[in-house]
Symmetry: D2
Subunit: 365 residues, 4 copies
């Protein structure tokens, strides 16, 4: 039986074609998945604009989409046993496929795997080519990392496994957040909101979120998710306000999930308490941080760390918490599009469509 797949193929910067591709016979150990939906986030925008190819991390053509949720159509028995799944299981797929045997994989840092394969940026010329989530069908390699997704979770909620995984990884694990902490989240986007949820699950006493005037709808969602305070950075003195809210102590943990802005890095250093931890997760387009003074790290005994990728543990927490129904996740779901609207979806998420205040966008297949 020949199956065909309606699949988005990115063929150049800002150019995606919807093609009807043949699903080829699977190689040994491979798994076929019928995708149900795929989330979109800021890195989809960067990829769409060509940043991934420019950085030498991918080539055209390739199938984008790195936040896929779908259902297993066929799977070899031995892979099913190891994954703990079967045909018909609904799964979320992690973007990185680890080799499993390099020193980093064996040391528990498979996000840094020396031989990793990445869904959404592997060219179609390799194997089946169906290596991305904006596609009816996706092919998985046997050492993929997948998570069961309970049936009661809507597809819009389900694809949040990706940003929420990042929230747990960055605002909890990387930050070392403890019960009773004051957590400052710089940036109220998907990952900022996910950080609020993670900090709340971790028992933080204060969760302070910053945004600009354009972000007030996002700050409202942050409050609904459990942020204790919000700061509009255009109107308020961020550091002064954090000091006030923490009675002069400063924030125990600061999570910077703003992209492109450099001021938040300086704010992070100024607003952290002595001995505190700063997690930088937002990328700044390789721009240096003007005014960054390491002496302040020294005098305040600060830890500043970059955070790349998400561990399996964090993805698992994300799915568990999403499924718990504790948070009004609906508030994040501003848009759902079909594959045909993919280019428009990018524009909406980018804030390029007047009147559309996107927070989270789902593409359904």
């Amino acid at each position: 039986m020949t199956t065909t797949s309606r699949t988005a193929v990115q063929v150049g910067d800002r150019t995606i074609e919807i093609r009807e591709l043949e699903v080829p016979p699977l190689a040994a150990g491979e798994v076929l998945v019928r995708i149900e939906g795929c989330g979109m986030c800021g890195s989809d925008l960067e990829s769409y604009r060509g940043a991934i190819v420019k950085a030498g991390l991918s080539q055209y053509p390739h199938v984008p989409g790195h936040e896929p949720v779908g259902r297993i159509l066929s799977i070899p028995d031995d892979v099913a046993a190891v994954w703990g799944v079967e045909e018909g299981t609904r799964i979320a797929v992690e973007p990185f496929v680890p080799c499993g045997v390099c020193d980093r994989c064996l040391g528990g840092e498979y996000r840094l795997c020396r031989n990793r394969f990445i869904y959404s940026c592997t060219p179609t010329t390799r194997g089946s080519g169906l290596w991305g989530g904006f596609s009816e069908y996706m092919v998985l390699r046997p050492n993929s990392v997948v998570h069961r997704v309970p049936e009661h979770i809507s597809i819009q909620d389900a694809v949040l496994f990706n940003p929420f995984g990042a929230g747990f990884e960055w605002a909890y694990k990387a930050a070392g957040t403890q019960v009773g902490d004051a957590v400052l989240v710089l940036g109220p986007g998907q990952r900022g909101l996910a950080s609020v949820v993670a900090a709340r699950e971790a028992g933080a006493e204060k969760i302070i979120v910053t945004g600009t005037k354009r972000d007030v709808h996002k700050l409202a969602v942050a409050s609904a998710f459990g942020a204790t305070d919000t700061i509009v950075v255009d109107d308020e003195d961020t550091v002064g306000r954090v000091m006030e809210l923490t009675e002069g102590r400063g924030a125990d943990r600061v999570i910077d999930v703003t992209s492109q802005a450099t001021q938040p890095v300086l704010d992070a250093v100024a607003a952290a308490r002595p001995g505190g931890t700063i997690v930088i997760a937002g990328l700044k387009d390789a721009v240096p941080i003007p005014g960054f003074v390491t002496d302040q790290l020294v005098f305040k005994d600060l830890v500043m760390r970059g955070a790349l990728g998400v561990s399996s543990w964090s993805f698992a927490q994300a799915i568990r918490v999403i499924g718990s129904g504790t948070y009004p996740l609906d508030l994040m779901h501003t848009h759902t599009f079909g594959l045909d609207d993919l280019e428009h979806a990018h524009a909406v998420l980018a804030g390029e469509v007047p009147g559309e205040d996107a927070i989270h966008v789902t593409v359904t297949l």
Copy 2:
């Protein structure tokens, strides 16, 4: 071309046959290794006597030998790339083959892998059957964990990668040993001596090793490896002596690598300093510890942990330190046998052959 392999096959308790087996065609991803030598330790003795099969962890027939070093004869290109080796590379093979995708593997605890395959106790009825190190040829699965072994290391030293890996894992990582610590090693066998080396590399100030009167030759090796003090437990009050040597403070870390004895567990609790750490790595044949009082863990705020298996990092350190030439490892190498003497080798290692004071035994192929 058909290759045959002279291979030890354990067919029952205490019964090993040397057979000439055909090396079958390799399955996808498999690697063929010409074994050069394989070390022996206490768990070989237990396996030989039938403990592994009795515990339901294996079945007869199977090829024993879990400390193999050899040279790669054939390897698929993709596996070679991931392992970072080529045909002809001399390697040491870890006993556990992890699945790479279960929560424990992904969390860096692949020693606890839910789907692990174990060399030396997988039956010959599965695949090639050549799953052990007491064999001219051994077949490796593609997700095996292997380490390059420098050519200048003798085979007797090379096979020490296994007990020395345990030394780093138990006396350093599991114990949390720090620069300046007083480390008490209970038991002067292969793993006790390896613990001395690990503690020394970690900058311990005092390394105290215990043994019985029958162990005086082993205690002498411990001293040559850097133990600062030795205690003959038949003649001396172990705990009193540790307190004296540590000026009443007690040991920061205690490593129990005695097998079957239960008194060392009580000694460990008594000799540890308040706030110290005890690592139990020696098995006691499932015998309870008479007189074990948890109140002492409470009053002394002690951590007591069991330690199972060895991480890749520790195996890598072992090979590095073995290759450095820092330690007079020759002192450990009491016996080298060929495959035909395998049953005798077990008897010698077990101390059942009068006049033979074995410490470490190598089987060469």
Copy 3:
């Protein structure tokens, strides 16, 4: 001006006299506190029966009471500045007074201070003698550790700072409890209930509490505080039930706060997941644990630790959470007595008074 203090003085095993003592002039740096109330827990019972003196940790006569809350009447300026308080501040007083300069204090383990002074078991022959909380007035040394107690907290809630501090120390810090964990709390007394609260604040997914048939009222409080499941150990198979509730995985963290019982230690080992952590905080009257097999620690790669005392951080969390009003703490407050009823209070707490099902007892001054 001469002040007198109505004070409980323990003069022998099970013998407390209420005396009118003169408050002597304070020594340099000392602080005078008017006690408002003092909590009672299991260690008060042990002390009352003579265990502390028998263990050589105290002598008669002394003023018992180690969970005091009161108001500062007089304090030297330099001490006030360091403590961050003033006359009139309502405070909770930690039981241990650290020296501040021994290696353990400087290493952050002041619970193990080599020179510590302990309120509630220092004889009246030393200095003012007013070293306990069952007294109108109490004298504090300048290096005491105190915490502000918000005015809106009832005295019954306030004195819970002590058991709740233990909950955070044992069920969170010592256990290393993480978001999403399954936490098993063995024993539903004050410290068990406090452990439920701490585990809940830490984001545990499952909190399972055990008790006997006599504890059903306590198990009900555990449920009200957020326990997801309770087990009546007389009726149910504890380990089997934990396995069922955790889908065969076992508990990530086990907290044993049972006193005297030894079976919970075996249950802890059996119910913990591979790689899990067991915290033993309940004392067993120095009785050995029959059937304790260290091999199980090894095969399961378990950490078992004793936990002694409580850190300042944990006491601070306790007061914060008590003040938050999140938990129906009233359910714990079964009895409040005056100083004249102190002997009766011990009997009630000990369960020796028919019809009185005590959980937590407060003595008001």
Copy 4:
């Protein structure tokens, strides 16, 4: 009996007077010490030039000298008991006096004490005024942190307790250095050399030290202390050379102890391995780091931390290792001066005296 003390008093920027001061009667709990010698380091230079007063951390007049070693002349019994010393004990004195009861002290971070008293920068107008080490007599407060100094250690070696304590704190504890690590030390001054010793004690495999052409005598000492490689940054490509020496992996730990230079911060980021740790301990005169790109922290998953001060544990390791005689410390001792030459001593240490290549300078009293 009236005692007088020849004491250096800094009365203004770059102005020190040697005065004959009366030793006043001691206040309660104070300890009198006859100073034997006091080390000098870069922060003495900064203080001498006025940086400490300018920063508002001190006022004139005050007695400088923060690395003192001396002998106890008089001590109250209760303080002697807590310190574990007696009259006549030779001690090294830590610069910070912790309050012992603030949250940071109780959390084991007494370097960040909220109420700390600092020797060498407390004005003479407070109490005895003898709060610095460039003085025959020094007065210590009862909560000072002191360490016994064995009699066999020369005074020049003994005063190294301070920079060597920093070495253990920064290159070991803050960096998390492990056995087998590749450690890059940027800067070959006292603290760089101390970092070499700490890394060596910790079992580092590679220790790479950088310096300028003017530092070649210091790099020679680094090699004598165990550095495996040195890099002259004027002549060589630092990052390229580190990559070469680590076979392309990068350094596991990078310790920046350069002062004022900003390029080392960029080198640290570029030379660290993915997942590595960078410790910034060198101050840069509050100058921003041009070209500092946080994206590199993200892509490499780096931890960068500032390190302020030294823990008691690290000072204790320093004295132990100094006393062990393992390292040819003589190579560091380029100059010893008396109190009358103190201004000259500053000039020599600052490299302002032609022909004098100072590494470490001791002032004897």
